[in-house]
C-alpha cells in the first residue's frame, strides 16, 4: 500500500502523519510537495495533514486550495483514490469543494487543543470500518477554525446519506451542545463525500496512534483505511 503525505508551506502535522504511516503501520510512505508535478495514481491513500498552510491567512485552507498539488489531488479523488484530510486538511477539502460546507472560527474564538470524545456515526466507510457502530473514540483536537457549517437543506442530505461520520459527544455517546467544542452544526467532527472516498475530520487520529501513548483510538482510523485498501470495501 502506498501512502502520500502532502506538504504545503505551513503544514505542520505532516511529519506526524508520515511518522504514523511509516513507522507505526510500516506502510510505504512518501512526501508530496505542494508545487505538484508528481503522478499521484500510484498512491492508495493521500493525506492532507494539519497545520497552517500558507499561514492560514485570510481563511484556513483558502490559499492552499489553489496550489498545484490540489489540482492533482482533485483528479486523484475523482478517479476514486482515497483522500483523508485532517484538521487543516479538512479545511482545504471544503475550500476546494471536495467536501461540502465550510469551517468557521470556533465559537470561543480561541484555538482549542485538548482531547475530546467523538461518536462514530457511520462505521461502514473505508475510514471507520474497524470501529464499532456508535462507538466513542478519544481523539485530540487542535484548531482555531473547526466549526462545521452547512445550510440546513444540505445538512439533511448529508445526514440521510450517512455522510456524517463523526460527532462530538459525551462519554456515553450523548450528542449535546455541552460536548460541542467549537460550535459545529449537529456536533459534526468529520464527514465523507458522497463517493465514500474523501473524508475530512477535525480531530487528529495521528495523535493517538503511536504506542508511546496509552490512548490508541486513532489507530482504528488508520487500520480501517489499510483494511479497505487491501480488501476493497463497498460503501
Amino acid at each position: 500500500m502506498n501512502c502520500g503525505v502532502v506538504v504545503f508551506p505551513g503544514s505542520n502535522c505532516d511529519h506526524d502523519c508520515f511518522h504514523v504511516l511509516k513507522h507505526v503501520f510500516k506502510l510505504h510512505t512518501e512526501w508530496i510537495w505542494h508545487k505538484g508535478g508528481q503522478d499521484l495514481s500510484r498512491f492508495d491513500l493521500i493525506v492532507l495533514p494539519g497545520g497552517f498552510s500558507y499561514g492560514d491567512y485570510l481563511r484556513a485552507g483558502a490559499i492552499a486550495q489553489f496550489s498545484t498539488v490540489m489540482k492533482e489531488v482533485i483528479g486523484f479523488a475523482e478517479s476514486g483514490g482515497k483522500v483523508l484530510g485532517i484538521c487543516n486538511g479538512f479545511q482545504i477539502l471544503v475550500e476546494s469543494g471536495l467536501l461540502p460546507g465550510a469551517l468557521m472560527q470556533n465559537h470561543s474564538r480561541k484555538f482549542i487543543c485538548k482531547t475530546v470524545l467523538v461518536r462514530v456515526e457511520n462505521a461502514r466507510t473505508p475510514f471507520t470500518q474497524k470501529c464499532a457502530e456508535h462507538s466513542v473514540l478519544n481523539i485530540p483536537i487542535a484548531h482555531h477554525q473547526g466549526g462545521y457549517f452547512i445550510d440546513p437543506e444540505e445538512l439533511r442530505r448529508l445526514e440521510e446519506n450517512g455522510q456524517v461520520v463523526l460527532r462530538y459527544c459525551g462519554s456515553a455517546g450523548e450528542v449535546t451542545g455541552e460536548f460541542n467544542p467549537n460550535g459545529s452544526v449537529g456536533n459534526i467532527a468529520g464527514i465523507i463525500n458522497a463517493g465514500g472516498n474523501v473524508m475530512g475530520m477535525m480531530p487528529h487520529p495521528e495523535r493517538c496512534a503511536d504506542p508511546a501513548w496509552s490512548n490508541l483510538d486513532g489507530q482504528l482510523i488508520f487500520k480501517s483505511i489499510i483494511h479497505s485498501c487491501q480488501n476493497g470495501v463497498s460503501v
Binding site: L58, R59, A62, I63, F66, V94, E95, G101, A102, M104, Q105, N106, H107, S108, R109, G147, F149, I150, D151, G183
Partner: protein, 82 residues
C-alpha cells in the same frame, strides 16, 4: 486602480466574532449597540488594466479567494483615482 473589497457573513450564518464584540461593548457600557457584524476589508492595488477588465478580474478573485461563498458574501468598488 484600487479595488476595495468587503466580505461579510451571509444572513443566517452566526458571526461569533460579532457576537463577542457586541458582548464586550455592552460590558463596556455601550448600551446603544444593537448588533455587531465583523467582516474583512481588502484593498487590492491594480496596475495597467482597464476598469472593465478590473470588474471581471476582481469579481473572480472574490469568488475564488477573498470570500468563501458558502458562508460569506462580498461586494467591491473600484476607485480609479487611487
Amino acid at each position: 486602480m484600487l479595488a476595495k473589497i468587503h466580505v461579510t457573513f451571509k444572513k443566517g450564518v452566526l458571526d461569533p466574532q460579532g457576537k463577542a464584540v457586541h458582548h464586550a461593548l455592552s460590558d463596556l457600557g455601550y448600551k446603544e449597540v444593537a448588533g455587531v457584524q465583523v467582516g474583512k476589508y481588502m484593498e487590492v492595488q491594480l496596475n495597467g488594466i482597464s476598469e472593465e477588465e478590473a470588474q471581471t478580474r476582481v469579481k473572480e478573485m472574490c469568488e475564488k479567494l477573498f470570500a468563501n461563498t458558502v458562508i460569506e458574501s462580498y461586494r467591491f468598488t473600484l476607485d480609479s483615482a487611487e
